[in-house]
Assembly symmetry: C2
Homo-oligomer: 228 residues x 2
DNA sequence: ACACAAAAGAGAGCACTGCTCTTGCTCTGG
DNA sequence: CCAGAGCAAGAGCAGTGCTCTCTTTTGTGT
């Protein structure tokens, strides 16, 4: 039911895609806050009200861009993971981390869209959670593959965190010890802290050789989750 | 020249403060993107054009709020550091980290203003760099105090990062080994990664007991910079 | 083959925004 | 005491998101 589903439906996806493309272009130029429906429509040679046939609001368009961005980043991470399939665990880990960093540097405004401050008033709809977790799952997969033998060391849990960590392990990393599950979530958040600081200018006059610095930092993260 | 500087100058500071206060209120209510000069003016019983006598543009007002936010956060960190003056290094470290987290949870929109995506098109003016580094200096101070005897272990440097780390140590942490300087910068970025993820909803359905989780994570950071 | 309904575009309009410019009023320093 | 600086007010411009109505296009069932 997909090959020839009417010329109208075909046109609809094409126009939808054209709108998103143009929006992405304007996003890259001026940032999310200045993204204007009218400007997008103008550039596409249509009138602004026509655009509402495709996206019911500006936030709706933004949400579509957010999902695409999560997917694009997730795919970059998975590609890097697969390309490093034969390497040692630490190398696979850093490969994924560096793919995240590279994607962020190439798509700064899209990165800001998904990992910066949530836009205006809205809260992310449930539709975004699956694409949002692709990077996390890529990292989890690497650690799971590596933890075959006896569990390598991660930071011991406090009593307060043990039940929480056991729940995390059950939910996210079945089969891995809770120490590792907790360490993974920590490392996941910290990875994006590093990327965000570089991207948002916090390393200005602090870190010069950012590539080397990032490599050093994510190697540390790999150790923290028990990879050697 | 400050005590009695004319009623006019006095009024000016008062009005300026009132504008910032009202702006902060609206910021907390609707977020930075929806902060409207006209609404602020309206609430203050003045007309929008009058506001331009005090701030030359919307971005100008935002910048003033940014600086205030950095200062407020910096002060919170320093207060926590001083309150824990007698404790062990790790306790002092976590006290500062938790002060940062608490401040962020209490002022989410202001946090987003300074550590979220940089607003629209602008780039932070030089005026912001000093207040922005207060948290970092609080953390550095704790580590410097603790590293009196033989340098405790931090992650060894790669050859690629050594010159960079030596520069960092010279600039930021004179007297401390370059391994520790690098680890400090890493931990600094990672701290804000943790806070940002919690604040921006990334831990939704992932981390439940966020307090315990944060404590665990920053204890790890303390270890990474060589505190025990 | 044709008519009809659904889909899409066009345009005007509302309420809002940041910002500028001109016009007056008020306070203050020489 | 009074000229000039500081300040407020109002109108106005160009832009925004979004809604409503009207017209045109287009796919499809009889």
């Amino acid at each position: 039911m997909s090959t020839t589903q009417g010329a109208r439906a075909r046109a609809r996806i094409e126009v939808t895609a054209a709108i998103k493309d143009e929006a992405r272009r304007r996003l890259a130029a001026d940032g999310a806050a200045k993204l204007s429906l009218r400007a997008v429509a103008r550039e596409l040679g249509m009138v602004s009200s026509a655009l509402y046939r495709y996206f019911s609001s500006r936030d709706d368009l933004l949400t579509a861009l957010i999902i695409d961005a999560y997917d694009s980043l997730g795919q970059a991470a998975e590609t890097a993971r697969d390309a490093a399939a034969g390497s040692a665990p630490v190398a696979r880990w850093t490969a994924v981390c560096e793919a995240v960093r590279s994607w962020a540097l190439e798509h700064p405004h899209e990165y800001a869209l998904i990992y910066g401050s949530p836009v205006p008033g809205y809260s992310a709809p449930e539709t975004t959670v699956a694409p949002a977790s692709r990077v996390a799952f890529a990292l989890i997969g690497i650690v799971r593959d590596a933890h075959q033998g006896p569990g390598l060391a991660a930071l011991p849990l406090s009593e307060a965190l043990r039940p929480e960590a056991e729940r995390m392990a059950a939910d996210l990393t079945p089969g891995l010890p809770p120490e590792v599950a907790a360490a993974l979530v920590v490392a996941w958040a910290q990875l994006f802290g590093l990327v965000g600081f570089e991207l948002f200018g916090q390393f200005h006059r602090v870190v010069e050789d950012r590539e080397a610095f990032f490599r050093h930092a994510v190697t540390g993260l790999a150790h923290d989750v028990g990879l050697r």
